[in-house]
Symmetry: C2
């Protein structure tokens, strides 16, 4: 096997490091955290495969941290985007796609009566808590300790640059601990505007944790009892678990739900959908951005959501994710290397047991990357509908070798 080289990636990183703080910021790229094992820069993508700037090819299970749900350059999405590009993208106001897409989202989301659009997941999560505040006249927001709801100061995982006031109205509880949420709600009785929660716990540097039996139902009941707005942060999971939103998958109907990532197969769009009861508050909370009404991402979103439905994309991703996870489980047993496989099959994650520093995951991830399979060592993975059985079979050949390498290196 010719080893993967990252000469161009590293050259570009040196250039970037001169003119960008940190070279590459933001998403915890494994290239930074496992130096020499992953590319820094990418050249192109096609379906489930990506190529880095050195020409190395990967079966990609990161899917751009979620957006690529139909595979790169899906023909129907590209065609829809191009058709709108030929007319223009960004105007003095929306195109007809604004109404089309809002109707479509409301149509497929059982609890929703309206939709709004923005660019980032952070945009819609922050706007959602403001709508909850405006609706209730209360200030405090309850969120799970350590959960990620975007980069804004009220919830950023890194405190640099924030002030005490930024989090003064945030109260936290333990994910999957209803009693703890009740404790928080009662400690601030009548002051909590809303609860923001992800469909399952998918914090980076953690095994994923599915909601315990009754957890979401209990939150719903507590929100009804205390008149708090229930906000589902479906930015990461939306349209990978259920076309009606991950609330449908886990059996909970929120009041407001936030989407981004998979909504438009990589075109820049986020959205929130909500109940009629919140419409007046939603009208009042100012929300805009230079590109919020642009047509191309909305054309892409409509094409993406329709195609996901038409091909049974949710079921496909579940099936391929299940095949991957079962294969990994078998390999774990055959190599006598115990692992934890967590998360729903379409958004899986695997970690080695008794490896709190993720050191074995780094060896495993690096060994996979070197053989053309891109798995993240400390962030959940993503399936797309472009992943085929052949992809999974090839992936499992590679992971088998990677287990062997972990065994060898930790012997």
């Amino acid at each position: 096997m010719k080893p993967y080289e990252f000469t161009k990636s590293q050259e570009l990183f040196m250039r970037a490091a001169a003119v960008v703080p940190g070279g590459i910021y933001g998403h915890q790229t494994p290239a930074v955290l496992v130096p020499g094992a992953y590319p820094y820069f990418y050249d192109r993508g096609e379906g489930s495969h990506v190529w880095d700037v050195d020409g190395n090819e990967y079966i990609d299970y990161i899917c751009s941290y979620g957006p690529i749900v139909l595979g790169h350059r899906h023909p129907k999405v590209e065609e829809a985007a191009l058709a709108q590009m030929r007319k223009g993208n960004c105007f003095n106001g929306p195109t007809a796609l604004w109404a089309d897409l809002a109707e479509h989202l409301v149509g497929i989301t059982p609890f929703a009566d309206w939709a709004v659009f923005a660019k980032n997941g952070s945009d819609v999560c922050t706007w959602a808590i403001e709508v909850a505040r405006e609706h209730t006249g209360r200030s405090k927001i309850a969120m799970a300790h350590g959960a990620y709801h975007g980069t804004h100061a009220w919830c950023t995982p890194m405190p640099a640059g924030t002030t005490a006031e930024d989090t003064a109205n945030i109260v936290t509880f333990k994910y999957n601990d209803l009693a703890d949420l009740r404790r928080v709600a009662e400690a601030h009785d009548g002051q909590v505007a809303g609860v923001i929660i992800s469909p399952f716990r998918h914090d980076a540097f953690h095994d994923s944790e599915l909601p315990a039996e009754g957890f979401h139902k209990g939150i719903r009941q507590l929100c009804d009892e205390k008149k708090m707005v229930l906000i589902l942060d479906d930015v990461r999971c939306g349209f990978r678990l259920h076309m009606g939103g991950s609330g449908e998958y886990f059996g909970v109907q929120p009041d407001l739900s936030c989407y981004c990532k998979a909504i438009a197969n990589g075109y820049p769009l986020s959205a929130a959908v909500g109940r009629e009861s919140l419409r007046a508050a939603a009208e009042s909370v100012f929300f805009t951005g230079s590109y919020f009404t642009s047509g191309v991402p909305m054309a892409a979103a409509l094409a993406c959501l329709k195609e996901l439905h038409a091909i049974g994309g949710i079921e496909q991703m579940r099936a391929m994710g299940t095949m991957l996870c079962r294969g990994l489980e078998e390999q774990s047993r055959s190599h006598s290397l115990p692992v934890t496989i967590s998360g729903p099959p379409a958004i899986p994650f695997m970690s080695f047991k008794n490896d709190p520093g993720f050191d074995r995951n780094k060896i495993f991830g690096a060994a996979c990357a070197a053989r053309g399979v891109f798995l993240h060592p400390h962030h959940n993975w993503f399936l797309s509908t472009a992943h085929t059985e052949a992809d999974i079979r090839r992936t499992l050949e590679v992971t088998d070798q990677a287990f062997g390498e972990v065994k060898q290196q930790s012997a």
Copy 2:
């Protein structure tokens, strides 16, 4: 003259109003504020012209509230965007364009040593104040009273959904009043992390106000004296007044500057550029989003900035804006309707004197729109390099008639 009809726009608005809070939110679309006179929805654009969904054509002086700086569907920008689209857009990390564009921005901006990229103007303005806080270890930010630096809670023009804590660290001063800024800085001596300011005062529902002689220079001196970070919010003006940033145009070198709008001719991108001294703080303040590293908008930005430079775009916009403003001045005199023409020629605005409710501006704007010229009644206008002398001549024929209509209706 066949009057413009808005049948399809109104039908779409009714549809949108059912599924989007307020139908259309955000930017103060004149269609909402001057009902029946402007379209709600747009179909396509080409150069300096846009067509609404009813097929009505306009010479467009809003330019999508700034982004369209080379005209809609500029061939070089579209070609660059398409070339990247054929390789993909959104990957697990950046493309080589990340380094190329950062180098380009640093190269054309005299004071800047690094660049970062995001999606919205709000993203970079908020991040900038956080970098100032991290750099200085101070919490307070000084901004001009009533200035717009985005929708985030610390500076939104509408308080709905915000809390007292959101603005607890914001102190305000009067634009163009250095003594007032000094008063604020001294009242909070040692606590003000930074001053954020726009190159000129361009608040909506206001005449624009150029910086008074010595204003920016005085801010610079005060920032140096008090060790405050000087942040230029160049979101609206950037790349319309000077390729090196509007600080160059007005003779001030900030520490950090925020771009959006014109940077990529409508493709979704914002950026901040800053000095070496802020690099460590910039590395520390967490900043990311699902689409921050996407290649297509960066390809568009590089093409846009290079083309603006190559064709002398700044000078073109200045010349065409000057021709427009001079024509309006003459017409104002000939109709004996005194007006205030304000702002730099590339970002001009006109209001009628003694018309605080902008009623005459609404009549004027509606009369122009009905004749195929799109001018905003209460928000500054934008020139693009696609505006030709023929456009301006036709525009002035229309505005002459619009002055006549104002005369008639206010007689």
